[in-house]
Structures are given as structure tokens and as C-alpha cells.
């Protein structure tokens, strides 16, 4: 049994991310850009490749591509054009795709993302516009082709082969997704296919300068699967090289059950796509003024927001990243901040407390509107304790229509105990029952104090105000 020394090998990963733009109409045809229609009910002569049809470019798609370019700090090309990419497949209405080969609209760019607490930067090689193909549905004795998706505008974002671990690839992809969502250029829904990721994976010995043969992995429909798929492929390649086997170019998919990458097809000696300039379209010429205007009108982007959260709101980097990377969550956080200024606490209640409690329900955070923020406010203004708040939260989940003030008002148990006259007898009782702890405390074991506080809270069913308990107990133990 040959030992595979994985630590000898350096994975090299590049990602090609296809982002479907959320324009009203398709890239070259005025049919609606929609998901989920009955087959072939959302088509035009252009998207079904009828002879005599001609493409006409959607200006909103161009704008969204430029927005993306500006958001990642790329160079937006002043001159870009379209090319025909020829290949035969039933989901292609013309058997050529209209894409951008040598003069793409976006060149370069950087993606900053959080990988295990450290900020890393990965380079984009280019991003270009192209039209999507239709969908092929496989049945036992035939295949069916639906052209509803044919012609939907895509931006293909091609990274440099600069990632060296599956986690980096996932962080990069999540960051790209977040940017696209913040810009509102796409729905970024991996299940619906509006965000699709292909990974190019190779390995080389640490220190090696040349890149070895890479393999393409497709059809990964979640970030989790992507991480596992890339990991599995890295291991496969390390193993193959260790056993002196050859790595051949090919396209692989990930088998979730086997947790292995499976060969779909070998790449014949370079597909000859015969790219040449699309004669039915004219070039895109953009002025510096246009690009500047787009740059100026960009919304706050994930990277900026992250910085703001860490430096101004003093959120820990991990939490800030958690919020920022999920646009819907982050927007909810921003809205809640307007009601409750305690960012740290709010963040915790959203990303830890409520997230945990909602996991097995069909409810989402947005179902609670401003109520979570109001709950945090109640804790901060002393109306309830943190301990009680957890119970109130449980009630809120059962009755999302009720606000926390209502819930507290309705349940006497939730109203905190502030009165020293109510708390003192409980403290006395606890002290009576725990002479050993008193002794420990007097002996210098500070943990015993906390234990005693806990006991008081327990006896008061969490209602006792922690600050009052602390003061009284400290006095009594003097």
C-alpha cells in the first residue's frame, strides 16, 4: 500500500462562474428572462435559431456587466466585441454560442474574501457577456429540448488559477455571489441555475513552477458540494500521481454518495470552437465618462460593508463576514440596526440565537420584521434579562405576529425581578444551601461566585436582574 503524502502536493484551482443576469428580456432577443415557464413558451425566433433571425444586444445587460467590472476593480474595456463559438449540441439554437473571445468587456479584477478568519485576495482574469443555452431533459428513450433558457444573458467570470484549497474556492465563489447580489444584477440562485460554477483543478508538487494537466468539474449545485468535489478531485490526482498514473484532461461530475469525482467525458484534443467575430453584431464602445458614472452609482459593496462592520460597529471579523456574505441576512441586519443600535448583540441574536432556533422550522428571519431588534432593545433597557429573552424568543417563533413587548406584558414570569426585597430572600436561601461554595469563594476561587449567581438565577427562574444579583451577592459575601 503506497502512502499518499498529500502535504507534498499543492492544489491549483481556477473557477469559471456563470452568472445569469436578471434583466427583463434576454441578451439578444426581446423574450422575457424568466424561470419556470412551460417548455418553449418563452421563446422568440432568435432564441430558437430560426433562419432569418438576427441578434440585437440588450443595453441593460451591458450595464450590469460594467457594474460588475467596476465592483471588482477590474478594467472595463473601452472596446469589446462578440464572437461566434461553434459546437453542436441540441440545446444550442444555432449550434454556435455568441460570446466574447478575445475582446471581453471586463478585464482583470480582484475578489477579497474571508478564508478562516484571514482576508485573502484572488485575481479575476476576465469577465464577459454571452448567451445561455436551452435545457436538455433526459428521458429513457429520448431527450426533450426546451429553449426557454436559450438566450438568457450570462456573465462568465473566469478566475486566475490562484486558489490553493477548496476553502479558498468556496470563499471566492461566495464573495462573487455576494457582489452580484449587492449589485442586484442576478438572483444568484444555485438551485435554479442562475449561478453555476465550474472548477478547474490540478495539483503540482510544492515548489513546482509549471502547471500540470487540469480537470474540469461541473454540475456542482451547492457550495458544500463544490468544496467536497474539489477536495475529492485533489485527492484523486494526488493518488494518481503517487501511483505514477497519468492525469488526462476531462470533464468530471461529483457523486454525492460515493464522495468521488466521476469522469463524464474525456476532452478530445482541444475542442475546436473556431471563434471568429460575430458579423451580425457591432462592437461595444464605452467612454470613460460612462464607466465613471457607473462606478459612482454603485451601492455599498460587501468588502466596504465588511470594513464598516469591523471598524465602526466593532463586530468580530467572523460575524461581520457571516452577515456580509448573505445579502438577504445583511439587509435584514441593516434594517434592524435602525431600530436597535446594539450591533454586536443584534448580530448575535440574528446569526446565533434565532438562526439556531429557526433551523428546523419553515420560518425565516424576515418573518419577524423589526421584532428581533425590539427584543434586543428590551434586554438593553433592562426590561428583561438575557436569560428571559431566550424564552421570549421561543414564544415569538410560535407566534410571529406578536411583538416582544406584548409577550412580556402577557406573561408575568417574563417580567424581571429588580426589587432587592424580592431578590434578597433568594440569595439568602442560596447561600444557606451552598456553604461549600462560600468557603471556596473565600478561599479565592472566583468561579464559585459565578456558580452562586447561577443558582440565584435558577431559583428566580431567570427573572432576577443579573446586575442586582451581582451587587447584593457581593455585599453579602464581604
Amino acid at each position: 500500500m503506497t502512502d499518499i503524502r498529500y502535504e507534498q502536493w499543492e492544489p491549483v484551482i481556477g473557477l469559471e462562474i456563470h452568472i445569469q443576469l436578471n434583466t427583463n428580456s434576454k441578451l439578444f432577443a426581446p423574450s422575457p428572462n424568466r424561470f419556470g415557464d412551460e417548455p418553449n413558451t418563452n421563446i422568440s425566433e432568435v432564441c430558437t435559431g430560426q433562419p432569418g433571425s438576427l441578434p440585437v444586444l440588450n443595453k441593460e445587460a451591458v450595464k450590469k456587466a460594467v457594474q460588475f467590472g467596476c465592483a471588482v476593480g477590474a478594467r472595463v474595456a473601452h472596446f469589446s466585441k462578440f464572437d461566434r463559438k461553434s459546437y453542436f449540441y441540441p440545446d444550442s439554437p444555432r449550434n454556435f454560442q455568441i460570446t466574447q473571445f478575445d475582446k471581453p468587456i471586463v478585464i482583470g479584477g480582484t475578489i477579497a474574501c474571508d478564508v478562516d478568519g484571514a482576508i485573502k485576495h484572488f485575481q479575476i482574469n476576465r469577465a464577459h457577456l454571452e448567451d445561455d443555452a436551452g435545457m436538455l431533459k433526459h428521458f429513457t428513450n429520448f431527450a426533450g429540448v426546451d429553449y426557454n433558457r436559450a438566450g438568457v444573458p450570462l456573465i462568465e467570470v473566469v478566475s486566475e488559477p490562484c486558489m490553493h484549497a477548496p476553502k479558498e474556492a468556496v470563499a471566492y465563489a461566495m464573495a462573487v455571489k455576494a457582489i452580484a447580489e449587492y449589485l442586484d444584477i442576478s438572483d444568484c440562485n444555485m438551485e435554479e441555475g442562475s449561478l453555476r460554477i465550474d472548477a478547474n483543478v490540478s495539483v503540482r508538487l510544492k515548489g513546482e513552477k509549471e502547471l500540470r494537466t487540469k480537470v474540469e468539474i461541473k454540475n456542482m449545485n451547492s457550495f458544500h458540494n463544490m468544496e467536497m468535489a474539489i477536495e475529492a478531485e485533489i485527492r484523486r490526482q494526488c493518488r494518481a500521481y503517487t501511483l505514477k498514473e497519468e492525469i488526462k484532461k476531462g470533464t468530471y461530475r461529483f457523486d454525492i454518495d460515493k464522495k468521488e469525482t466521476i469522469l463524464m467525458r474525456e476532452k478530445e484534443d482541444a475542442d475546436d470552437y473556431r471563434y471568429f467575430p460575430e458579423p451580425d453584431l457591432v462592437p461595444i464602445v464605452l467612454t470613460e465618462a460612462y464607466i465613471e458614472e457607473i462606478k459612482k452609482s454603485l451601492p455599498e459593496l460587501p468588502e466596504e460593508r465588511f470594513k464598516r462592520y469591523v471598524t465602526e460597529l466593532h463586530l468580530p471579523a467572523y460575524s461581520a463576514n457571516q452577515l456580509v456574505i448573505d445579502k438577504a441576512l445583511c439587509n435584514f441586519f441593516e434594517e434592524s440596526l435602525k431600530i436597535c443600535p446594539n450591533a454586536k448583540s443584534l448580530c448575535n441574536w440574528l446569526t446565533v440565537e434565532f438562526a439556531g432556533k429557526l433551523k428546523d422550522t419553515d420560518k425565516t428571519l424576515t418573518d419577524f420584521g423589526g421584532n428581533i431588534a425590539r427584543l434586543v432593545n428590551l434586554i438593553d433597557n433592562g426590561t428583561i434579562t438575557g436569560r428571559i429573552a431566550k424564552d421570549v424568543a421561543d414564544e415569538m417563533i410560535l407566534h410571529p405576529d406578536k411583538n416582544p413587548e406584548q409577550i412580556v406584558a402577557e406573561n408575568p414570569d417574563y417580567r424581571p425581578m429588580h426589587d432587592t426585597s424580592d431578590i434578597e430572600p433568594i440569595i439568602d436561601q442560596v447561600l444557606l444551601e451552598n456553604p461549600a461554595s462560600i468557603a471556596d469563594f473565600r478561599a479565592g476561587k472566583t468561579k464559585a461566585f459565578g456558580f452562586l449567581v447561577g443558582q440565584v438565577m435558577k431559583h428566580s427562574r431567570g427573572k432576577a436582574s443579573p446586575s442586582v444579583v451581582n451587587d447584593l451577592l457581593a455585599k453579602k459575601l464581604q
Binding site: 428580456s25 422575457p32 417548455p39 413558451t41 422568440s44 441593460e60 431527450a143
Partner: protein, 100 residues
Amino acid sequence: MKNFNQEDLDRLTKLCRIACNEEEKKTLFEKLGKVLKFMEQLEEIDTTGIKECDHVLETISNVMREDVVGELLPRELFLENAPSHVGGMIRVPPVIKSNN
């Protein structure tokens, strides 16, 4: 410009997805050979420093349309011309290999 050979013809018919029987191949090979030989005259023309003409109307650029939904092609019209269709989809023989 290299000489056109049988391998080239085979590669081409595969790329274009056109089946040819032996006779067809023979005729095509002859004719293409003649035509390609004729093309060689371009080699003699000096084009150093000359740009490729991508568009005869050089000054036209930025032809774009507003992002509005327009007329659809009704499914019945589309399927009327289809050699085979089922459930509103175009029907083709089962596809084994996967592509882009």
C-alpha cells in the same frame, strides 16, 4: 498554407457533422483541393501592418435595444416546423455524452 489531405477532410466532416459516403468524399476532396490551391494566391499579397476588417461599416457601434419584453414566438408556430416533439419539447434521440 499546407496541402489539403484526407485526414483534413475527415476531421472537417466530423467538425461539421456531415456524413459522407466514399464517393462523396472523393468528389469533395478533389474539389476542395482545387479551391484551396486557388486560395494560395493570397499568400503573395503583403498585409504587414494591415488591420483585419471586422465590419464594413467601421463607424457603427453600440447598436443596442431597451430592456423591454417584445413579441414572443407562439409555441404552436415553433412546433409546427419541428420534425418531432413531445410535451411541448423538441424530441431528439437519447443523449448519452454530455457537452458544454
